[in-house]
């Protein structure tokens, strides 16, 4: 793997918690790796599996979905649904051995700026180690 590889990570952040968490991390001047392209969604359950797949096919090396902790969803139960959907997609990727580690779901509340920085930095490190995803480099896909 080339040393200068800069991963392309897509982050779907829930408007009510993780997006505010990212904001807090920024205003707290925490160091965050600059590889995450943030897409603000109204709820983590807005992210359907096709959006994730699309991201992978169109150039993402990793996809992070972040939402409110279970029980704290702004819409009461959205994150329970996305948790199931995530488990399903992850299982498919695992069964077909399609690098399931490139997909992550994390609960980050609006007050967890520090956790946001940690999660993003750790995920960016993991993806850098994995290298470019074959999903968007293989011309036969």
């Amino acid at each position: 793997m080339k040393q200068d590889f800069k991963p392309n990570i897509v982050g779907f952040l829930c408007n009510w918690c993780s997006y505010a968490g990212a904001d807090l991390a920024g205003s707290s001047k925490l160091e965050i790796k600059p590889y995450l392209s943030v897409i603000r969604v109204m709820c983590s359950s807005r992210v359907n599996s096709n959006l994730v797949l699309n991201a992978f096919l169109w150039g993402a090396d990793g996809v992070l979905i972040a939402g409110c902790h279970p029980g704290d969803c702004h819409y009461e139960k959205g994150n329970y649904y996305v948790r199931r959907r995530f488990a399903l997609l992850k299982k498919i990727l695992e069964t077909l051995d399609l690098e399931p580690d490139r997909l992550q779901l994390s609960w980050i509340s609006a007050s967890e700026g520090k956790r946001y920085a940690e999660v993003v930095n750790k995920f960016a490190e993991d993806i850098t180690r994995l290298g470019p995803s074959a999903f968007h480099t293989n011309p036969n896909i």
């Binding site: 096919l57 279970p70 968007h136």
Partner: protein, 369 residues
Amino acid sequence: MSNVLKIKKGVEQGVNELLKFLLESEKVKGIFTLRKMNENGAVSYSLITHPKELKNAVPLFPLMPVNAGKILSGFTLKKAINEPIAAVLRSCELRAFIELIKRTQGSLENFLLISSTCGGVYPLKSLTDGTFKEQVSQYWESAKNAEIASDIRPTCAACEYFIPQQADMTIAIVGKNDLQQECSIFLNTKKGEEFTIGAPGNIVSEEIDTKETTKLREKRQDQKKKLFDEFEKNGFGIKALVKTFAACLSCHGCSKACPICYCTLCDFDSKTHEYLPSSHEIELEQKGGIRIPPGTIFFHIGRMIHMAVSCVNCGMCSDVCPVNIPVSTIFSKVGDSLQKLFDYLPGKDIEEPVPSGTYKEEEFTEIGE
């Protein structure tokens, strides 16, 4: 133990006799069953309302021109049928119908469901390449001896759910030594018993699970393991997936034949996934070359996400594939792991919600932490 209607005739004539009785006694207004279309062995599902049309009915014919669950869903999509119809269908077709009803695509109301312990069906291409007549001769012999008939659909040979769960009546085939002399029809529900009052034959008490059915189930489980092992030999990962789907024409025939894929406009045929010149441009920039038609792997993984958890392993997808991709094996494999994850068996219980449409608060608690 359940009540069994015994008709002193070969199984095929026996079932026809019962269907004739149901129609003539006006207990049902119509019969939905397979019917012979010509002498070459072509069959088609038909709705029959006059007893004289029953002469060409072949309810147990080992071919599945289309998954009947899909047709019954079409009948009842707008509203339930208002007069009783007896439908003869296989275990996986019944399961598919139930999965569709759970997705509000139909109704069970007024259906008398007649199913059978299933010996499997032959690939449709055996009709066109002329091997069917030769193969079918040993079909009943294999069913009698609870063996896997050779040359049936690979997914049928690996199917362990050949005893239907939701049927009102079940025609016993697997492991029945006296198939040519006697027809045994298990009456599983009160409805099944009511409809057979006055039917020819006598009622005895028997168990549907026998030594023979257990034997066949074990054989099929072995076969399933073999099928998966063989598939896994090619390895997984993106490279293997690209290889498997290399020949895919993007005809989407698998999704059209799939009973669970019910969407009138598939997401992948819609504008959402239309490949615009700009999409090609982006991909070309990244990869230096693109496959045309694009998005085949995406289509298959996307379809897995949508329906694999409800996959009933009927094998229609592999059967219609013009380039012989083992679609059903891959979907069985993925479906199997998803169904284990959610502890879910498609078509088993009509009250049980589809996993992707529900949740439990206390599950997957390790995710996201």
